[in-house]
Symmetry: C2
Subunit: 694 residues, 2 copies
């Protein structure tokens, strides 16, 4: 069955009306034919029939071979077996016998680089599947596409006949995970690398140090983790293993050591690096802090030379990220020695002092044969063109860098910790805004983008739920053609992908219920789930503003705001149904019934949970939200009643209802939103005029 | 909040009416006060107030110490942190500072034996908790009880004030896992050992060989796994690690090598051991097969001497299980050489030949310093009293063995693969039936029992869902006093335990939705879940009878029957509500509404899923069950209508409705039951008479 713009077409129909289908399904990606691939390939064309997928499935490899390819095939077999539940007598076979043949032209570089060929072609018909690629990178991408195409059909599992020619739009498609603010054990990273592979992301940006923890073993400077990590860090062997694990999935690993700010954890063991008097403790709070590396002492550069030397051996990638963001300059301004250094060297302000530091740092990075990457702040006159700017500020900043000849990657608009809806991330294009007006050559300096998972409010239990499935929308933006932009198609395919990711051991779906059970203390968790399904954590940085006491690294992340999904699929679908109902001028009785049934259940559950607030501290803060849900559901029901009676409401009554919805959805210290308030308000307004009998 | 027989008492109420509470909560376990412990302790008394559980929680160890205890405390901290979501700065501290002090008198034996002291005492009040035990075994059990007592309350997490003196009723409390019919990787066993620890089970019975696979590396006989395992086996190092892992949790590991039948997999590599001509292939089908070890050749005993010698070093436990069940004797009867051996030795039939084999085997086991355990069939005159009989036949068989002086353990009634409701297992007592009439001394020969997870229809994905949570009911039967028998209390506590087990990485809850998503192909899995929640796999061996084609080891376990839970909690609760409604002579309008809402939803979902049957082969077989659900829901709604109208139905109409319910619930090749049919039939009957206006 294929979902074509919301219309289901079964395989049987496809057989009965082949002509229509073959016309219909050869649409270009821009026309958003929704087969369940994500990211959508550059070009594809559905054919007739399908390849059976059963326990006899087998694969052959030809052309260039390496161990990585064998492991990729093993992984395909394992994951296909998990996804379908069919035990595969996993086998690699000769080309003539194989269900899927994989041909690879030649190897990729020993250390992956951004400009490598990642393209592949995949041809599937009833007799078999043929995947061919220039390099193992392309072959691995093609295997993931093949996996996504395996679907349940009336005759068992199958892969639809299809012809695909695919290559990425951008060469740098990344995911940043901050492991400093909350440490993420290796298994968390491994399963997220599996997720990245599934959506063809190819850069894992490992944010390894920040004020709240230094997370990688240095043998030269053991006090970095010895005093700055609470014992929560990666050994060098773990790093090597993870780099191998990533390379096996066509993923580069770029370490970030954020400097000269965001460095408190360094100073716990090495206070002499800092610009302040010390001593230092690991920072537990969130925010921008004063401690900064002293950019004026030779000792600093000696230390960094040794440190970067050590780390550049550990991380093979050509790029090395030095952070460079959010230096407030306060320690520099307060230090007499630094002030006198600035005067001596004609450095006028702390921003210029950072530039001085960045230039010296760049030389060290370059000495160790790496190219420097840093946030917007590192861009300064005369810095070599080999550096890459990662922008948290936006496309304008990137465009300006590109015009000056600097490479750039976009992260503004891709911060998944801000709890935006997937559709909002999806709409952000690295080449939009000022970047849209760049010359072709300048555009080529914009390499791609990175989703960023900052970890103030995530831990190993809920981090997957912030990354997935929304990061798949960003991955599609970075891989698929520019004109693939239909959010409806994206959402359909994203939710298809989402449950398939369960079979990659990601926990974004599976940890949801246990977290709710914990809050409900195991009693009537079903009601709590109904509530949780329609709330969202507050957006952007509102969580900080609404907190009764500021959260720290030691604050439990066991509340409803931590379990609730960033985007409520239930609310999104209700909103769609309400829009449909309104578009039909409220005439569709079946839709009215459907909306009413949902609203009545929310009213009931909202009231029931409100009454349980005394049970536990975790439920207590949810009570006002439950009450709010009941209130807006009541308003929605009243609106449907008014529509049913065809009686326009008075302006006063409408205003009162709007005010009550407004009040009910106002975020409290529970830090939760009720996105249903928007469609319900629309129903109230319709009850007041458009759909009532005037 | 405590749940006392279905009535919720909040901490606040407990504070306001302390006198009532202190009277009310000192009931003996037999009176089934439902605090959330499982198994219920031998004696306990709730006090007033509670101990706060927060990030400052700490533990001290005193008295006898060993590494295992430190690791048990670490595990407590990890699991308490997972269960509450509170990050613990895990610390072991001095006794004066500790929230929980743990005192252990002395060590346990280097290899755990069944008669060891497992008792402990736990005292909790607002100022702290004190756990004391004779041995590390008792201390570990006490830590699990403490973990179960941590609950969410209005002021945050707490442990209620309580005084507990606890010891097991039976010394042998086991779980058998069959890893031959479907191989279970080490991580599956590890998480199930965690679950066993949580409910104080102390014997892991590892069913390592059978017709369908030989699962442990033998260095002396490498072809056992080399040809008899499909490469799916445990290395000796993995075995040693798992034995250590189990010992860390107070769990003995008893290997079973089933002989002389159930041995096809041995013969693939060593056909000379068999009584037939060979050659042999790994058996893929289920059932009782002819191949059996040749008990007449010296070569056999030489082989077994070497093999048992090797395995007895690998498995330190005092007991060694040799199986001995289900020998059909056909290969022996068909072999002329064996027949002539029998005549020479005056062996009259194949049963006597098995006895001859068992006696010689027992000497080999004994030579290697182990006590033999076997199934009922090994019991024979003159076999030494040191052996232990494991009974799949029942209490009568055990009682007869005990009277002859043999030790025994019960497995009849504890086969979790038969999909019985937990309450049915719970009602089986090793000392009931004929065993109830044994003398005190004879009763002591009945050591306990074992739940048995035979693996025809489980694989790593769904095996936890067959073991948990129902095995907790068996664990309670084996640990708690004989008079702890209230199923209502058991069910309440079992479901509390069930979600807590999520934090031990068990997958019985978390794999449910992905399995349903797979069947639904990710489209409207919510409806499928509604159906899955009210169906049950057929019981006992009915799955075999209903299969269109016999299942084998290679059959995918990806159908609704594989995902559906053995016992529908939703159906159980509906049945309870219906009984309540009927007990009130159908007068309670709120209950009528609740029942109606559920029935209407089932009718809707049943019809919707029936219509989707063409989508996929996995959904197609579900269609008749969906239709059946709609049919019985419709009958239930009609019954409520009749009750509402107070009009008695005609006998003809009642008979017609009963017939339609009967037809709708008739199991098909989907192998599913509709347990809702029973309470709905009751409603129909009530609509016909008791609750209608005659």
């Amino acid at each position: 069955m294929f979902d074509i713009g919301g219309v289901f077409i079964s395989m049987r129909m496809a057989f009965v009306i082949p002509l229509l289908i073959s016309t219909f399904l050869t649409l270009s990606p821009a026309q958003q034919v929704a087969v369940d691939m994500m990211p959508l390939p550059t070009e594809y064309k559905l054919g007739r029939g399908a390849l059976k997928f059963d326990e006899s499935f087998s694969v052959s490899l030809s052309g260039y071979k390496e161990d990585r390819l064998f492991r990729a095939v093993e992984r395909l077999l394992t994951n296909a077996s998990k996804q379908t539940g069919i035990p595969l007598q996993a086998k690699l076979t000769g080309r003539r016998m194989a269900t899927l043949t994989v041909h690879t032209e030649h190897g990729s570089k020993p250390v992956e680089e951004p400009d490598e060929d990642e393209s592949y072609s995949l041809e599937v018909d009833a007799s078999g599947a043929r995947l061919s690629a220039a390099t193992p990178l392309g072959a691995m991408h093609g295997l993931q596409t093949f996996l996504q195409l395996i679907a349940a059909g009336p005759g068992g599992f199958h892969v639809p006949a299809i012809s695909i020619h695919d290559r990425p739009r951008f060469s740098w498609r990344g995911l940043l995970i901050d492991v400093s603010r909350h440490f993420m054990p290796v298994e968390v990273l491994r399963r997220n690398l599996d997720g990245m592979e599934a959506v063809k992301l190819n850069v894992f940006h490992w944010h390894l140090s920040d004020d709240q923890g230094f997370r990688v073993e240095s043998r030269k400077f053991p006090k970095l983790t010895g005093m700055g990590s609470d014992g929560l860090y990666y050994t060098q062997q773990q790093v090597r293993d993870l780099v191998t694990y990533a390379r096996d999935r066509g993923i580069r690993v770029i370490p970030e050591f954020d400097m000269p700010g965001h460095t408190t954890s360094w100073f716990v063991g090495y206070p002499e690096l800092s610009s302040g008097p010390g001593p230092y403790q690991i920072e537990r709070r969130w925010g921008v802090f004063d401690p900064a590396i002293d950019p004026t002492r030779d000792h600093t550069y000696k230390f960094l030379d040794d440190f970067i030397g050590e780390m550049s051996k550990l991380f093979p990638d050509h790029y090395f990220h030095i952070g460079g963001d959010e230096v407030n300059g306060k320690q520099w301004a307060a230090n007499g020695r630094i002030q006198s250094f600035m005067r001596q060297h004609g450095i006028e302000n702390t921003q210029q002092l950072q530039t001085y530091f960045t230039h010296r740092l760049q030389k060290l990075v370059s000495k160790h044969h790496k190219a420097m990457v840093g946030w917007d702040e590192i861009l300064s006159p005369d810095i070599p063109k080999a550096i890459v700017i990662q922008s948290w500020r936006g496309q304008d900043s990137l465009a300006s860098a590109a015009q000056q000849g600097y490479g750039g990657i976009l992260s503004s608009g891709y911060y998944v910790d801000l709890n935006w809806p997937a559709g909002r991330h999806y709409a952000v294009d690295p080449l939009s805004g000022a970047a849209a007006h760049l010359s072709r050559q300048e555009k080529q300096k914009i390499f791609g983008g990175e989703a960023a998972m900052w970890s103030e409010y995530v831990d190993p239990e809920n981090v997957d739920s912030r990354i997935w499935p929304r990061t798949a929308a960003i991955a599609e933006r970075l891989w698929s053609p520019e004109n693939v932009t239909d959010p409806q198609s994206m959402y359909t395919r994203m939710y298809q992908l989402s449950w398939r990711l369960d079979f990659f051991a990601l926990t974004h779906n599976t940890n949801y219920l246990p977290m709710l059970e914990r809050i409900a203390a195991g009693r009537d968790a079903a009601s709590l789930r109904t509530l949780a399904d329609v709330v969202e954590p507050v957006k952007d940085y509102a969580r900080e503003e609404l907190a009764l006491t500021p959260a720290t690294q030691l604050t439990p992340l066991n509340r409803l705001v931590d379990a609730a999904r960033p985007e409520s699929e239930t609310a999104r679908l209700f909103s769609r149904t309400a829009d449909q109902f309104l578009a039909g001028r409220c005439q569709d009785a079946a839709l009215a019934l459907e909306l009413r049934a949902l609203l009545e259940n929310w009213r009931k559950v909202g009231r029931a949970l409100e009454a349980r607030s005394a049970d536990s501290s975790l439920l207590r803060e949810v009570a006002p939200v439950s009450g709010g849900l009941a209130t807006i559901a009541t308003a929605g029901i009243a609106a449907l009643d008014a529509i049913g009676r065809q009686e326009p409401a008075s302006a006063e009554r409408l205003a009162a209802q709007a005010a009550s919805i407004q009040a009910a959805q106002k975020p409290t210290s529970a830090q939760l939103l009720l996105p249903l308030a928007v469609p319900i308000q629309k129903l109230v307004e319709a009850g007041g005029n458009a759909c009532s009998g005037r």
